[in-house]
């Protein structure tokens, strides 16, 4: 029997700052993704992201080390503000970016018409989980790679791979977002800031921690309580879809959407590579440089192990997950749905 020819997947890593970008490059990332310091990307947090000059220097550093740099321009410009997104595209192209990750149709039209040779990836924020949706974006905007949402099983990914004309990128590690990306207004409903238009989800500016006399901690987003913790519990960040709520037919508060848990596909790595996934994506541009260094190094060696036919060494990764809890989510079984 001949061993199946394996295409080495690209390891795509997050970079919220120039220091994190260098850490990811040094730890063995094949590509890093980042954003400008404004609403044009979906991690528009204070203290995060790149100025024009920072991106210029970072691209030079990455390219010197043979690493690609991708720009996330993956939010939805509201009418009247599209110039900011166009400028982000112009700047990234001018700096020699390797690919731009887009979600909005208007942004894709602009990039494709003005820079027909520029490589475009379709962001998970575009919400394209079906063969037809992906083909639509490929045919209309010459998309070269699609980032798939975290809701598909590996057999479903294989099926998609066979029928679409572009590469596939999958999330393998980090935040396990539950709502269909690019289609969630929960933050705007609660805080007046929009995930799609402003690039924020549960913004820190609207988070409150309130402690009572018994040292119980209540976490709030805007005016709404997202969870409560006793003094012995480790309080989680108040993200709406990770909170606990009450419904009439249940006695206790429960995680109505999902428990705070991280995605970790380390055990499924050989299956993903075998399925022909072109790129493996780590979530977390908001994470520290130290975290990036640890996570990227672990994944680098895990992927290299699998490519050499060895079982991957993956135990380090659990320590880096949210509350040390991890899931394979929908990738392993559709019973997750």
């Amino acid at each position: 029997m001949h061993p199946k020819k394996i295409i080495p997947p690209e390891l795509v890593c997050p970079a919220g700052t120039p220091a994190s970008l260098r850490a990811a490059v040094d730890a063995g990332a094949d590509a890093v993704y980042c954003g400008f310091q404004n609403a044009t990307n979906a991690r528009n947090f204070p203290g995060l992201n790149f100025t024009f000059e920072e991106l210029q220097n970072s691209i030079a550093y990455a390219h010197n080390h043979g690493t690609k740099v991708l720009l996330a321009a993956n939010t939805f410009p509201p009418a009247g503000k599209t110039d900011l997104w166009k400028q982000a595209i112009d700047n990234a192209v001018c700096l020699g970016i390797d690919a731009i990750i887009v979600a909005d149709i208007g942004v894709a039209v602009y990039a494709q018409n003005k820079y027909p040779d520029q490589r475009l990836h379709l962001s998970v924020q575009a919400g394209a989980p079906s063969i037809e949706a992906i083909k639509y974006y490929c045919e209309e905007f010459n998309i070269k790679r699609v980032v798939l949402p975290r809701i598909l099983t590996i057999p479903e990914i294989k099926q998609i791979k066979e029928e679409i004309p572009c590469e596939i990128e999958c999330f393998i590690f980090g935040n396990h977002g539950l709502m269909a990306e690019g289609r969630c207004s929960l933050t705007n409903y609660t805080t007046g800031l929009s995930t799609n238009m402003d690039g924020v989800c549960s913004p820190a500016s609207h988070v409150k921690y309130e402690e009572d006399e018994n040292k119980n901690l209540t976490t709030k987003l805007g005016e709404f309580t997202i969870d409560q913790f006793s003094c012995s519990q480790n309080p989680g960040y108040p993200t709406i879809c990770k909170g606990r709520y009450l419904v009439p037919h249940r006695q206790d508060a429960y995680y109505a959407f999902e428990e705070p848990i991280s995605l970790n596909l380390a055990n499924l790595l050989p299956d993903l590579i075998e399925a022909g996934v072109h790129a493996l994506k780590i979530e977390g541009r908001q994470r520290s440089r130290a975290y990036i260094k640890a996570v990227v190094s672990s994944w680098r060696s895990a992927i290299d192990d699998v490519l050499e036919g060895k079982p991957p060494h993956i135990s380090d990764l659990l320590a880096l997950t949210e509350g040390n809890k991890q899931t394979e989510g929908a990738y392993a079984s559709k019973r997750w749905r």
Binding site: F76, P77, P78, A79, G80, K81, T82, A103, D104, I105, G106, V107, V109, G127, P129, S130, I131, E132, A133, K135, Y136, Y137, P149, I151, L152, E156, L178, M179, A180, G182, R183, C184, S185, L186, N188, Y189, T190, G192, N196, M197, T218, F224, T225, D227, Q228, C241, G243, Y245, L246, V247, P248, H249, R250, A253, F257, A330, K334, R335, W336, R337
Partner: protein
């Protein structure tokens, strides 16, 4: 130009007979001009009502209403892909299709069609591109503030297409691959036993300290508050928005739609209509925050 009043697709899982009777009553008694039919939330619910569509479409059309078929908002598995393809290839005269997912856009390219509120149309460039592919009418996402609606209304006029905005009902805020209704009953989507039928207006999700916050409708998360843009109708008409959508709920939709018609026709004031709406409507607070560029759940009093 007369403002058009529309009835959006029923978002909740009502028994088939109830839905049929609802549409018959709308046909006979409601002043809405256009009625959107079709299951947009969950493909598992769809078979229950399939045999009724022809009958209700005919009845609605006979009473002078335009009928539009709305496509599924989330298309992922083979059943949903087939449903969408089938719907988009329907060659029924007089029935337009409203696309709510890009899988539908794939099939509808080059044909006249409508764009639903589940598709992300946030700016002029996106609108212009979709128009070049055959889009004639847009129902805009509910989170857009009036400043953005105004620019899009101007653009729509320049492109000779029309736009629609939801003005009543709970607001769709998120979609997921997971069914939260099933989850709340310790089930999964494949084994849901259609528990969502128990909540004809959605299942209220309260915070730990008992404040009503959101409502759950299968894979969809909606607002707890009920959108009401009665005070804003006149402003929107002036902007050039032509159509206003009532999203169906489990109470008197004939009365509710009549109140909106009366305000559009200026036969009663928005203030008076609001008082009456409170008596017919859901027992939940109103909201209009998104329109005013603030937290969506808030109620901004008119000046």
């Amino acid at each position: 130009m007369t403002a058009e009043l529309t009835l959006g697709p029923i978002l909740f899982h009502w028994p088939a007979d109830k839905k049929r009777d609802f549409y018959f009553q709308i046909a006979d008694e409601s002043p809405v001009d256009t009625v959107y039919i079709g299951e947009v939330i969950c493909s598992k619910r769809s078979p229950f009502f399939e045999s009724y569509y022809e009958e209700i479409a005919e009845r609605l059309q006979k009473s002078g209403k335009k009928v539009v078929f709305s496509s599924l908002a989330e298309v992922m598995i083979p059943r949903e892909r087939k449903m969408t393809e089938g719907l988009c290839s329907v060659e029924t005269c007089n029935i337009e299709i409203e696309a709510n997912d890009s899988a539908a856009l794939y099939h509808l390219r080059g044909m006249p069609h409508r764009i639903g509120s589940f598709l992300n149309v946030y700016n002029e460039d996106t609108m212009e591109f979709l128009v070049s592919k055959g889009a004639k009418h847009f129902t805009l996402p509910p989170e857009l503030p009036s400043s953005v609606l105004k620019i899009l209304a101007q653009k729509a006029r320049a492109l000779d297409v029309t736009i629609e905005v939801q003005v009543y009902g709970r607001v769709g805020l998120a979609l997921s691959a997971r069914c939260y209704h099933a989850r709340s009953h310790n089930r999964v989507k494949d084994n849901c036993q259609f528990v969502c039928e128990q909540d004809p207006d959605g299942m209220t999700l309260n915070t730990i300290n008992g404040t009503p916050f959101l409502s759950i409708n299968g894979i969809q998360t909606l607002s707890y508050h009920c959108l009401s843009l009665l005070n804003e109708l006149d402003d929107m008409k002036k902007m050039g928005i032509q159509a206003f959508r009532i999203s169906p709920h489990n109470h008197d939709m004939v009365k509710t739609s009549s109140l909106y018609r009366d305000v559009l026709d200026k036969t009663i004031s928005p203030k008076e209509a609001l008082v009456k709406l409170k008596k017919t409507g859901l027992q939940i607070p109103f909201s209009n925050g998104f329109y005013h560029g603030t937290d969506g759940y808030r109620w901004i009093k008119s000046a």
